[in-house]
Symmetry: C2
Subunit: 299 residues, 2 copies
DNA sequence: TTAAAGATGCTCGAACGCCATCACCTGATG
DNA sequence: CATCAGGTGATGGCGTTCGAGCATCTTTAA
């Protein structure tokens, strides 16, 4: 069978001009090359080269194999190089899963400097998982999970990366806008806009309304943060979002953040990873960057 | 070192889904594959796959190598296929050398059906040789030589492929046009047009004029047959060409062929080849086709 | 519990590389 | 012109190495 080995001999003979010199290049002896090529010739059923005087002349088959060698050998060498980069953790694809809708804006601030530091790492962000974010981690759909709900379980590692306060957003013109905080019963007559997620997983329900036995008059679900805040600004409802996100949008939209209850609802975002990956440099680098973002804006 | 062998294992495992099945496909045993890949992993310094439950999950390095395998292995297989065709004489490049200017028209008639019969053979026609046609054959510049001057010498084989008569061509209006033959002394006052070749190698000189001690009034050299015959038709000179060629041009130009002397000058064209190539099918096929052309028009 | 997957360690044999030598060509040298 | 020396690839024998197989173990999933 035609092997990489044979292609290397062909290329070396081409480069060096003789079998003996090629053998030196390959750290072998001339008989080794002669034997190898002779065996190949027998298997292929054709001569690779003919001896003419003291030099070798390639047959047409030999010419063709040489072309093949010049094309394939660099690909072998490049593949070994790339794999070495994988081995050293210098290259890879980082698939980040998101289980926290408003975190997308925060993630962008981490990804951007990260891509500069790790030019050979591709970052891929995914938001839909067949068996949830944890399942996606276990199933190797993703390598990192951005989530507010850590699950401390063997095989996984969760690291808090930033704290934020969940607040209620209302339009400037809303009757609650003058208050600095809001109580559960004040939402009884409101339309609540949330991301399309089961209510049990929304903080506004399980840490604010449900404990007080309250619920909003209506519950609307909207995918994107932009549209959601447009609706709020237009007085079509209220929403619950991180304070830093609301502050950012206040430049552009007439909206106000209100503390949820007397103490506010405080949350942590975690980055989850498989412990099996704990020695992958480019992955740890992402977690570190997320914990101490270069463009830390205090949120 | 990364070998074809390893790539084949990767591809087989991908196809079959397990090491054991892959081993069957490759006519090996499961431990053989395990050992081979383990060794590769040690050399590369990274895992190719991890065992998860009873199935293997490729690492990123493994994924990359698999991609490499799917790209490179078909190229190996194709190369072996092509070389097998070379071995069986089904494929090659046939470089034909020409030492006989008017033979080009004849050659086209042979090449055209040949290319249909041998779709995987490329034909290349060359007309300039540093050390002459014979030298080009010996030096592997060409594989076949079309020549009127065979040189029977060890290592070469010449085969007569067609006979023709060399005739003088004159314009219809030429004073000699009425004759059916011409004598050497009748050219003393004429302008003779020939291809740009040394006169000693031109039949009109060495088999007609020189033996009679004659020479033309002027001698012009022109490269192409077309222009040469245009000149003749215009009464600007006479030329010596194969009869069949003149007959062909008579449809388009007012020209006449005249026998050279009482018996005419009869020539043979030979195809020369290296005896070392005597078992190359596509080369023999060309010689056979040349000897019995499909479109044999009696010349 | 069982069947099936991969991992492991040992053994054996084929193949691969090296050494010594041969055969051949080429160019220098008398 | 004959000879010789240096360098090429070819060849055959030998030793080592590497690789494949066998038997067995571990783990997983049905």
């Amino acid at each position: 069978m035609l092997e990489r080995h044979h292609l290397m001999i062909l290329r070396a003979v081409k480069q060096e001009g003789s079998l003996t010199a090629a053998a030196t290049q390959l750290c072998l002896t001339q008989p080794a090359l002669t034997h190898a090529m002779r065996k190949l010739e027998q298997r292929l059923g054709t001569a690779i080269w003919n001896k003419e005087g003291r030099q070798l002349r390639l047959t047409q088959a030999g010419e063709y194999l040489l072309q093949t060698a010049e094309r394939l050998l660099p690909q072998f060498e490049h593949a070994e190089d790339v794999v070495r980069q994988f081995a050293e953790g210098l290259r890879g694809t980082l698939r980040v899963g998101m289980e926290c809708h408003p975190c997308y804006q925060w993630l962008l601030k981490v990804v951007s400097p990260y891509l500069k530091q790790w030019p050979d790492v591709d970052v891929d962000v995914r938001q839909k998982f067949q068996f949830g974010g944890i399942g996606a981690l276990f199933g190797h759909e993703i390598d990192l999970l951005v989530t507010p709900d850590p699950l401390f379980r063997s095989g996984l590692h969760f690291e808090p990366v930033f704290d934020y306060e969940q607040v209620l957003v209302v339009a400037d013109t809303h009757k609650l806008a003058a208050q600095s905080q809001v109580e559960p019963e004040q939402l009884a007559g409101e339309t609540l806009i949330t991301y399309p997620v089961e209510p049990e997983r929304l903080d506004i329900f399980n840490r604010f309304l449900t404990p007080a036995g309250q619920s909003p008059r209506r519950h609307k679900q909207i995918e994107t943060t932009d549209i959601m805040l447009q609706m709020v600004a237009a007085g079509r409802g209220v929403a619950a979002l991180p304070r830093w996100l609301v502050v950012e949008y206040q430049n552009r939209l007439p909206i106000q953040p209100l503390r949820l209850g007397g103490k506010g609802v405080h949350k942590q975002i975690f980055l989850g990873s498989r412990v099996a990956d704990s020695d992958v440099d480019y992955l740890n680098a992402f977690v570190n960057l997320a914990r101490n973002p270069a463009t830390n804006d205090g949120c």
